[in-house]
């Protein structure tokens, strides 16, 4: 393997053009990457297969690797006998609200901390950065008590409020705005534009890459969140999708095609998003280790 342990600059540039890539000699790295890629693909492949596998297959020994026939019974049962569409709607509401709110509030705050000079700025920003280190375990008990006092517990609001803004989002946007050259904004201000106009007309259109990163971060986090909804919501009308499919593990634990159909409903939207915007997802991952 060591013979090509390092990509030389020339290999990088010549590989870039499509047709010439075929001319490259066989790389020993395929021997590592191909099996690893297959291993990584297996769980999702199994998820789709299992959602279409008839129940009787699981009782056969040995279980067939390929379903004996494909059936949509799991999906039919899922949509016919469970409030999964309601849960999907709840999750969409939570995620859309979270993304819109994050984009608006965090970009405003990030810009303020990056560019404006005002009293309390340093203290405020220091407070924001300090909270990044506080783990959710320290927050969940008082937040639960607080939310139950103001009547948010067991409602969708309980899942939404913690996702309206985040320290990470503010930090990310501030770093981005700091990297922009200030001359454009100064020109705008000299021409008589207000700060607000400069922000919305000049700065924000330049911030699309950072906004995309923030949107993906918020989507992944809010869509997949489990521990907080688990604590805050016990009413199955206000369940998020993640909470709903987790509840199936208790009530429908033997109905595998239904469970996997639910898993497909919860995961497929994100898989599709990932395939469409892989570059932006990778960018988001580099900025954050949000998976918990």
């Amino acid at each position: 393997m060591s013979s090509s342990a390092l990509p030389s600059a020339s290999a990088r540039t010549t590989g870039r053009s499509g047709p010439r890539r075929r001319g490259l000699p066989f790389s020993p790295w395929h021997l590592l990457l191909a099996p690893v890629a297959v291993l990584f693909a297996i769980p999702f492949v199994q998820m789709f297969l299992a959602a279409l596998t008839p129940a009787e297959d699981l009782n056969r020994i040995p279980t067939p690797f390929i379903p004996s026939r494909l059936t949509f019974d799991g999906f039919a049962q899922l949509f016919g006998t469970s409030p999964v569409l309601l849960w999907l709607g709840n999750t969409v509401i939570v995620s859309v609200t979270a993304i819109v709110s994050h984009l608006v509030l965090c970009s405003l705050a990030g810009y303020g901390f990056a560019r404006l000079r005002f009293r309390g700025r340093t203290l405020g920003f220091f407070g924001i950065v300090a909270t990044i280190m506080i783990p959710i375990q320290v927050l969940m008990i008082p937040t639960y008590v607080l939310f139950s006092r103001i009547g948010l517990i067991d409602s969708l609001g309980a899942a939404i409020v913690p996702w309206l803004a985040s320290a990470f989002g503010i930090f990310l946007m501030r770093q981005f705005f700091l990297s922009l050259p200030p001359e454009l904004e100064e020109a705008g201000l000299i021409d008589g534009a207000t700060r607000r106009q400069v922000f919305f007309r000049i700065v924000l259109p330049l911030a699309k890459p950072a906004l995309a990163t923030l949107a993906i971060f918020t989507l992944l986090g809010s869509w997949n969140d489990l521990v907080w909804p688990l604590i805050a919501i016990n009413n199955d009308q206000a369940f998020t999708l993640q909470l709903g499919i987790t509840s199936f593990q208790g009530t429908r634990r033997t109905q595998w095609s239904l469970l996997m159909a639910a898993n497909v409903v919860a995961t497929l939207p994100l898989i599709v998003f990932f395939l469409v915007a892989q570059k932006q997802f990778v960018q988001t991952m580099t900025f954050s280790g949000l998976k918990g």
Binding site: P162, L230, N263
Partner: protein, 312 residues
């Protein structure tokens, strides 16, 4: 958090100073109009509960009856709690399984993926996609793949004539299974940050080493690896923090079983707080975990400094 009041006018009210003050007030209001909403939300939902949580940790309280101040009793009890000690052991076991393998796997995959060969896009996609899988989805998949009766793994073992395993139902294997599936979902993260670091290394550095007569292996270990050290430190710290807080995947697979073998600190804490409604004790465990995590982080950073690795 509030718009800081301007300092009471010191000295005489010269016109120029007054107008400067007015300008200062306007800038302060403008600044807080930008940062206020997000700052109030973030601080209000973190600093304030964190402080409240500390006071809760000094009480015995079930959320309904009158709270009773008990001083440091909850912390003292945590030190002697055998169940918590067992949960710490399980968490340390998971951390020892997960962190080194996730950092090394990330490094290996990043080096492998950092080249232009056929199918590279396909390989990257296959390895990165699992990042979007939620804990709930991963938990259900784990239960299915590792089912002793019909799961793929035992199915393969059976066909090649190897003994069947209990996997999640075997107290000695359950944590290993959870670590493997965590790795599946999070290898993308370590891989991506190593990949970004690799692409930041100027090609001339490696070329220069090769011209000086280094083999590609020597160039890798003596030029590339030292450049990756800061990222390795960062990834290690990050993954340790994640590992110490393991909860979701335990909840969606074993619920702490079998025989409490996968009961982690956070699972224990969640159970104490939200099943037994011991809010005071739960808060004390949470604060202890927070402080231990901070100490470990500081320790790793100091160690890295001494080894002259600029991680932050």
């Amino acid at each position: 958090m509030s718009a800081a009041p301007l300092s009471p006018a010191a000295g005489v009210g010269v016109d120029r100073r007054r107008s400067r003050r007015r300008r200062g007030l306007r800038l302060t209001l403008e600044g807080w109009a930008f940062v206020g909403p997000a700052t109030v939300l973030v601080l209000g939902l973190s600093i304030f509960p964190a402080i409240w949580s500390f006071f809760l940790s000094l009480q015995r309280w079930d959320g309904f009856s009158e709270p009773e101040g008990v001083g440091l009793h909850n912390y003292a009890y945590a030190l002697t709690d055998a169940d918590l000690a067992a949960a710490v052991t399980h968490t340390v076991l998971y951390t020892a399984l997960f962190v080194p393998s996730s950092v090394l796997l990330g490094l290996l995959l990043a080096v492998a993926l950092n080249r232009r060969i056929r199918f590279i896009g396909l390989y990257r996609t296959a390895i990165f996609v699992p990042f979007v899988a939620s804990a709930a989805a991963t938990g259900i998949l784990t239960t299915y793949l590792f089912s002793p009766q019909f799961g793929l793994l035992n199915n393969v073992l059976r066909r090649v004539g190897l003994p069947q395993q209990g996997w999640l139902e075997d107290p000695r294997q359950a944590m290993v299974v959870i670590a493997i599936m965590s790795l599946w979902g999070s290898a993308a993260f370590t891989t991506v940050i190593f990949l970004a670091a690799l692409q930041d290394i100027p090609g001339e550095l490696v070329e220069a080493a090769r011209i000086d007569g280094a083999t590609s292996r020597q160039a890798f270990w003596h030029v590339t690896v030292p450049q990756l050290a800061p990222v390795a430190v960062f990834a290690t710290i990050w993954q340790v923090i994640q590992a110490l807080q393991l909860f979701d995947l335990v909840y969606t697979t074993t619920r702490g079983g079998p025989l409490n073998a996968t009961q982690t600190v956070v699972y224990y804490l969640w159970n104490a707080a939200f099943r037994q409604t011991e809010f005071g004790y739960g808060s004390a465990v949470a604060w202890t975990l927070f402080i231990v995590t901070m100490l470990i982080t500081i320790g790793v950073v100091l160690y890295a400094r001494r080894a002259r690795i600029e991680a932050f």
